[in-house]
Point group: C2
Chain length 194, copies 2
């Protein structure tokens, strides 16, 4: 028979995540070592892996926490301008650093683990689609694609721009970043053309 989750379990998980937050704040995601996490959380190594499948899933959980704070409460954009602002916000969040980009690429798919990044991205996409419906009805933007398709496509472009901007760490960072910025802007315009 299956028993209810112990409060102890949740407490342990929270301690691990709290430790992770501290470490990421101090040395970034790339510098997070599992040893350090369990040390701060006061648990054994095995406990970490009993709670999280691997280091990357742990980082994804942390990232989801952080992004959730920014994205959970957002309403559907009411007009074209608001939509563009929303995409820009996503772009800035996603392009924060290399780790973020890699984690999103790996975990944000429509069929992810269930709780975490994937759910968050789905939420954002749906909210975007809600806004698109109205704008398409008013003829403010084009209606050649269904709202949910269009909004997922827009998010895909944001991902791509973020990834491009990050790859540009080597070489002339500014130029690459500007290139990504412009790609996102121009492609979005082409898609939204009434």
């Amino acid at each position: 028979m299956t028993r209810k989750v112990q409060t102890r379990t949740l407490a342990t998980r929270d301690r691990l995540l709290a430790a992770g937050r501290e470490i990421v704040a101090a040395v970034g995601m790339a510098g997070l070592r599992t040893e350090e996490v369990v040390l701060r959380a006061g648990t054994a190594k095995g406990t970490f892996f009993a709670h999280f499948q691997d280091r990357d899933h742990f980082l994804a959980a942390l990232l989801a926490e952080r992004l959730g704070e920014e994205l959970e409460q957002l309403a559907a954009p009411v007009d074209r301008k608001a939509l563009l602002r929303r995409l820009d916000l996503l772009y800035r969040l996603f392009a924060a650093d290399t780790e973020t980009v890699a984690l999103l690429a790996r975990f944000s798919g429509p069929a992810g683990a269930g709780l975490g990044l994937d759910r968050l991205i789905c939420l954002v996409t749906e909210r975007l689609a809600d806004g698109v419906v109205g704008m398409q009805a008013r003829g403010e933007i084009g209606a050649r694609a269904r709202p949910e398709v269009l909004s997922e496509g827009l998010v895909a472009l944001v991902f791509h721009a973020a990834a491009s901007a990050q790859c540009g760490m080597h070489g002339d960072a500014r130029a690459v970043r500007e290139r990504a910025d412009r790609l996102l802007l121009e492609m979005t315009e082409a898609l939204l053309w009434p």
Copy 2:
């Protein structure tokens, strides 16, 4: 003073890559261990890392080899139908497996290392843009975005579709794959609308 590259160096590199090819063919990219590579190539561990920055760069080189065979010779698509076929080919190549998707996400940016995946993707994008120029001139597809922007956007959508299809390994794979297929198709249509 800087001396010319020794032929020995190139031979070693080739032996490493050849070993890598064999291993990938046998156990896939995920199953490749550096120990096994140097064992087959008959070199020491250190030699491997003298030639390739890390395991992922090595895998990227192998992937670039493989994709290069398929993509290097392709001509610019002459019409809309050829363009769609080209995107479909890319999709099938990119969505081959999880490793491929991850490597592309990490190394295919416009400012990558110089020789490898990044160069290949740039090539494909440019070739695509060449085709787009003609089609836009003939009014066969829309001209709301510049050719190079449009083609990079299309490639971005292919990436996204490939990533989505791969994330769908968990859960109902078929449904997720079909969803990705349709997204790519509908978004492409919306973008190409005359």
